[in-house]
């Protein structure tokens, strides 16, 4: 394994310098150092990688490796490729030591449970993971940047060393060359909702009927926004603007050719290291105020809101149940229940659920037992998913799936793919939703979706409008 210290470099700039390589991925802890606060642990690391040695794609429930169909089930093929690598024991203290980076779409959930097909199926692959042997690791806490080259997929000593050396040099050449042409101004994306306010509110009312009928306790309903993509639209530049406007610990940019993703998710779905698992479900949102006093009041109101706490606790119970399927008895704990986390423009109610994986259970087992995350389905999970499909009428694609990495050392860190824009086939789409309970008010739920959409829409307004911004919310401080 080759490890080289790099001159301090911004992750977005490193991504831009590698952007001519296929399969560019940028897992971007875009929290600024001065605003890290309680996000310091979540936002410590960023990773930039490109040119994977192989790519696993799942379409219609079938796994393909570099376009060739595979015989095994998707998760078995993922497990086989992630494998286990003795060489990672000499890794230089970075949480990601090489392995899979990509996404699992929400609709992959249909491969894990018997669920109805939506009327309109999303055409994006259900899963894409590139396997990366060379990557840049950025430690925001220590202000260090390192290039790591593992020599994968070679296994023999010399061959592996030679590959690691050659790949490191090729990446260094790109990373150390003078900055190329700066990205032009981010062009405007004319996002429009695909449904009217009345439709979303009627769906919320229908969901409440399901709750009152005893069908479910809670369901997450979303609405979608779509914009035509201008010719030559620079999605990476858009991500740069989004991360500046809406810094989040689980931001990401993924370019898998047919689908590009720019995300600014605040929510960790699952992290696993040495058998310890952590989930951080978010349920409960309040808009931030400009005035510090009012802002603190908004946070306090959220922390004591009966409706939001009920939403959050239901999902904590669901996550505890999901994790209990793969964790040792009595290892499930809730160290944080309904804590407040503050992001640009929004306060969230966040809980932390932890557990220890049972003997013989790996990251893929944990993923299979818990996917999709309960915070974006509802409870009970399967019935809630059926109702989502019936009410929303279309697949969700990447939205509400998971983005992140699974390392060759068995560690994993995946987020919930919310606040996520997908660029595909001449269109940009994103969705925003909220949890519906018996106490929900349709009009307030609609407003909540717009509040969540605000930062993405601001980024989409393009840089011409940036000169005349609306009053900006304070950056994350908590």
């Amino acid at each position: 394994m080759i490890v080289r210290d790099l001159a301090p470099v911004d992750g977005h700039e490193a991504a831009r310098r590698l952007a001519d390589l296929p399969g560019l991925v940028f897992l971007d802890s875009a929290m600024r150092p001065e605003s890290l606060g309680i996000h310091a642990r979540l936002g410590r690391w960023s990773f930039v990688a490109a040119d994977p040695w192989t790519t696993l794609t799942v379409r219609d429930g079938r796994a393909h490796r570099d376009g060739v169909a595979l015989a095994g089930a998707p998760l078995d093929e993922l497990r086989r490729l992630v494998g286990c690598d003795a060489d990672v024991r000499v890794a230089p203290g970075t949480p990601f030591v090489g392995g899979a980076i990509g996404y699992v779409a929400y609709d992959f959930g249909r491969r894990l449970e018997h669920l109805p097909e939506p009327a309109e199926v999303e055409p994006v692959p259900e899963m894409v993971f590139g396997f990366y042997d060379t990557f840049v690791a950025l430690d925001h806490q220590e202000g260090r940047a390192r290039l790591i080259s593992t020599g994968r997929p070679e296994t023999g000593g010399d061959a592996r060393r030679r590959r690691a050396q050659a790949r490191a040099e090729a990446f260094l050449m790109r990373l150390e060359r003078p900055a190329g042409r700066a990205a032009g101004p981010v062009r405007r994306l004319d996002f429009r909702p695909t449904i009217a306010r009345e439709v979303h509110e009627a769906r919320v009312a229908a969901a409440i009927e399901h709750v009152l009928a005893g069908d479910i306790f809670q369901v997450n309903l979303a609405q979608r926004f779509v914009a035509p993509l201008p010719e030559g639209f620079d999605a990476l530049a858009f991500h740069g603007r989004l991360r500046a406007i809406n810094p989040a610990p689980f931001s990401a940019y993924l370019d898998f050719g047919e689908v590009r993703i720019a995300s600014s998710s605040p929510e960790r779905f699952l992290a696993m290291r040495d058998g310890l698992i952590e989930a951080r479900p978010i349920k409960g949102t309040a808009r931030r105020a400009e005035d510090a006093k009012e802002d603190a009041l908004a946070a306090a109101r959220l922390a004591t809101s009966e409706k939001d706490r009920a939403e959050n606790i239901m999902i904590v119970d669901l996550m505890r149940n999901d994790l209990s399927r793969v964790c040792t008895d009595d290892s499930i704990a809730v160290p944080v229940l309904c804590g407040i986390e503050s992001y640009a423009g929004i306060h969230h109610l966040v809980s932390v659920v932890t557990g220890r994986a049972a003997s013989g259970r790996d990251a893929i087992d944990v993923l299979a037992a818990t996917f999709p995350g309960g915070s974006i389905t509802g409870a009970p999970k399967i019935r809630a998913q059926e109702i989502i499909t019936a009410l929303e009428g279309h697949g969700r694609g990447v939205y509400c799936g998971a983005i992140g990495w699974i390392g060759h050392d068995g560690a994993m860190d995946l987020d919930i793919a919310i606040r996520t824009v997908v660029f595909r086939a001449g269109e940009a789409t994103f969705s925003v939703g909220g949890g519906i309970t018996a106490l929900s008010d349709p009009a307030a739920e609609y407003e909540e979706t717009l509040t969540k959409a605000a930062r993405i829409l601001e980024a989409a307004a393009g840089e011409a409008e940036a000169a005349d911004p609306a009053p900006r919310r304070r950056e994350a401080t908590a």
Partner: protein, 59 residues
Amino acid sequence: MPQFLLVAAAGAAAYTAYRVFRREIARVAGHLAEVRVPSGAETPTRLVRGSDGVFRPEP
């Protein structure tokens, strides 16, 4: 004989409860089916940024 009557009464009660349960399921299912959810086929609306920074559909 008393035992027979007891079993018969318990059976009748169970059957009646089952019928009530089935009727309730059908009633709830019927009610949920009647909940009208409009389709999303309306013309998309332009979004306008409000003074609070939130974008809302143009009135």
